[in-house]
């Protein structure tokens, strides 16, 4: 990031010299304007989600604005089954993040640090799940579980989530590992660090940002997954499954409260992450 940031300001001067004046200014700002419109499109629904968490809907569907109220925020768990579904989603997201991150990080090491027979096949096997539509992944797992006589439930959701998060973890950690200079580890070993010490004090801290972002990605993928879960949940209800069911019966504003809270927590995590990153960068300097 820093390297690119340094690169940006310098070149603008010569280009401006070749292309004079107003039309260029207009073009420059036209793209900013169109881009900003695009961002607006991106935020419109989020804005609606937040605003409607303060709605007091007249009917059972929170689709039209009636009046402002804090009711939904005060009585989040009043909606039967919703908070349980959030807890289940959290539980499954944590468990599948742990499994996928551990398995994926180990596999990423194997792929980046070694040349071996079958590496191409391994890469394809990792890539294809990401390129397969969720309905196909979900339905194929359903058929497998039914054929093997495994009852659908939390375990099958966990297996499914771990599986589809795995590829994303491997790809993310791999990218970080490729950028890691192996000479740093060699230097540590030259200084008589053993393998464990090298890993704990050099390798792990250096790839940690990659591992953390892979874990965060898995967590959000798992927490938010609907389609694959729908095929493998049996009678278990995760939060997305709850929303799906609610959309057919009654849509309370509490659902928007959860959506808003998720957004706030995630933004908080990002801000804290940036803060830590900035501090680490400062310390390193």
């Amino acid at each position: 990031m820093t390297a690119t940031l340094n690169r940006v300001p310098a070149p603008s001067t010569p280009t401006e010299a070749t292309k004079p004046g107003r039309s260029r200014w207009f073009k420059d700002h036209l793209i900013v304007f169109v881009g900003a419109l695009g961002l607006l499109y991106l935020f419109l629904p989020i804005f609606v989600v937040i605003v409607f968490s303060f709605n007091k809907p007249a009917g059972s569907f929170n689709y039209t604005w009636t009046e402002f109220s804090f009711d939904a925020w005060k009585n989040i768990c009043q909606v039967p089954g919703m908070c349980d579904s959030v807890l289940l989603s959290l539980k499954i997201a944590v468990l599948s993040t742990i499994a996928a991150t551990v398995l994926g990080t180990i596999a990423a090491f194997g792929l980046v640090r070694h040349r071996f027979k079958g590496r191409g096949f391994a890469n394809v096997l990792i890539f294809v799940p990401m390129a397969t539509p969720e309905v196909v992944v979900g339905s194929s797992l359903l058929v497998l579980f039914v054929n093997m006589g495994i009852p659908l439930g939390q375990v099958t959701i966990w297996i499914a989530h771990t599986m589809f998060c795995l590829s994303f973890v491997i790809v993310t950690v791999k990218a970080r590992l490729i950028g890691l200079d192996p000479r740093l580890e060699q230097a540590a070993q030259d200084l008589y660090a053993n393998r464990v010490q090298t890993f704990m004090r050099i390798t792990l801290p250096l790839i940690l940002p990659g591992v953390v972002s892979a874990a965060m990605l898995s967590f959000s993928l798992s927490f938010d997954d609907f389609i694959i879960t729908n095929f493998n949940s049996g009678s278990e209800v995760t939060f997305p499954m709850f929303v799906w069911g609610a959309s057919k019966k009654a849509l309370p504003p509490q659902i928007n409260v959860i959506g808003t809270a998720m957004l706030l927590i995630a933004l908080l995590v990002v801000v804290i992450g940036r803060f830590i990153g900035a501090r680490r960068a400062k310390a390193a300097r």
């Binding site: 194997g110 309905v135 039914v146 297996i159 060699q186 389609i227 729908n230 929303v243 959309s247």
Partner: protein, 308 residues
């Protein structure tokens, strides 16, 4: 994946990084074993089981038997071709729309945002922080018949045109193809912005200056330099958008009606409601095969081998 080229050169004949020692040959297999096993058992095996199921005959009561029942495929194609067609038309339209919306966003962030760049990048992925289903439901409010957006588009006469084209009907947006396409292009927009941004961000600005020095207008400079160099980003963004969009059925359920149901709706109904597994599997495999064929064709056409 592309970055493989950046693997730092390791001196001489020494095998990649450290650890020269016993068992070196087997280490990668041990490292890959757990994840590889997970993917083999819970991705590859299920797909093979799905193929097997798609060729079975029978029902839930009498049991399924494998019988090379290719007629399952003929049956589902005959019954569900409209859903299939819709999946691909909606997903393709949404993808094109997504490129049109995502490119200016990515361009703005890469070249015009200055120090706001990282903030804007976080904002682009912010939609992912709220639930996919809740975001889609929010569009029901935005596009509702009495809403501001529909009212405005109706008053400027745009809905009359879209009615005429057939992507809306009765001057409303909800429960029409347009609503589903808007929902699809919205939901996968960050998947398009990020790869385009990544390919724009690493472009060497001096190339564009060179074009300017050679008297290319900024428009020509864009089409001859920036756009071709950003194509890898557009291609991977297209895949990341088109594939999930073609398989999606949340948007068509929430924003469309029965008339907008897509292949995913049919697969979901066949598996979970009708429980006709063999036909459902045939439909699922057909969807996957169609997508794979299209993607391979597209990647060949686009000429980017650096994806895998």
């Amino acid at each position: 994946m592309t970055a493989l080229a950046h693997v730092p050169p390791t001196g001489g004949a020494a095998a990649p990084p450290p650890e020269p020692g016993r068992g070196n040959k087997l280490t990668p297999y041990f490292l890959l074993l757990p994840a590889g096993l997970a993917l083999l058992v819970f991705f590859l095996l299920p797909i093979l089981t799905l193929v097997n199921t798609s060729l079975q005959s029978g029902g839930l009561e009498e049991g399924f038997t494998f019988s090379w029942q290719f007629s399952n495929y003929v049956d589902v194609w005959a019954d569900y071709w409209p859903q299939f067609l819709r999946s691909f038309v909606f997903a393709a339209t949404a993808t094109v729309l997504t490129i049109l919306i995502a490119y200016p966003i990515a361009y703005m962030i890469a070249f015009k945002a200055g120090r706001w760049r990282s903030v804007l990048l976080v904002l682009v992925i912010a939609p992912f922080f709220t639930s996919f289903l809740i975001r889609t439901l929010a569009w029901t409010t935005i596009l509702s018949d009495g809403g501001v957006v529909t009212g405005f588009l109706r008053s400027i006469g745009l809905l009359t045109i879209t009615d005429f084209v057939g992507i809306t009907s009765d001057s409303r947006i909800l429960a029409t193809p347009l609503a589903v396409i808007i929902g699809l292009s919205y939901n996968f927009l960050p998947f398009m912005v990020l790869p385009i941004y990544a390919s724009l961000e690493k472009q060497d600005v001096s190339l564009l200056q060179a074009a300017g020095d050679l008297y290319a207008s900024s428009w020509a400079g864009f089409w001859k330099v920036t756009w071709p160099l950003s194509l890898p980003g557009v291609v991977s963004g297209t895949l990341l958008t088109f594939i999930p969009a073609a398989g999606d059925y949340v948007n068509s359920t929430f924003l469309g009606s029965m008339r907008e149901s897509m292949a995913g709706n049919a697969i979901d109904a066949l598996f979970l409601r009708i429980r006709d597994y063999s036909h459902a599997a045939a439909l699922s495999i057909s969807l996957m095969a169609a997508i794979v064929l299209l993607v391979v064709y597209y990647v060949r056409r686009a000429g980017t081998e650096e994806l895998v």
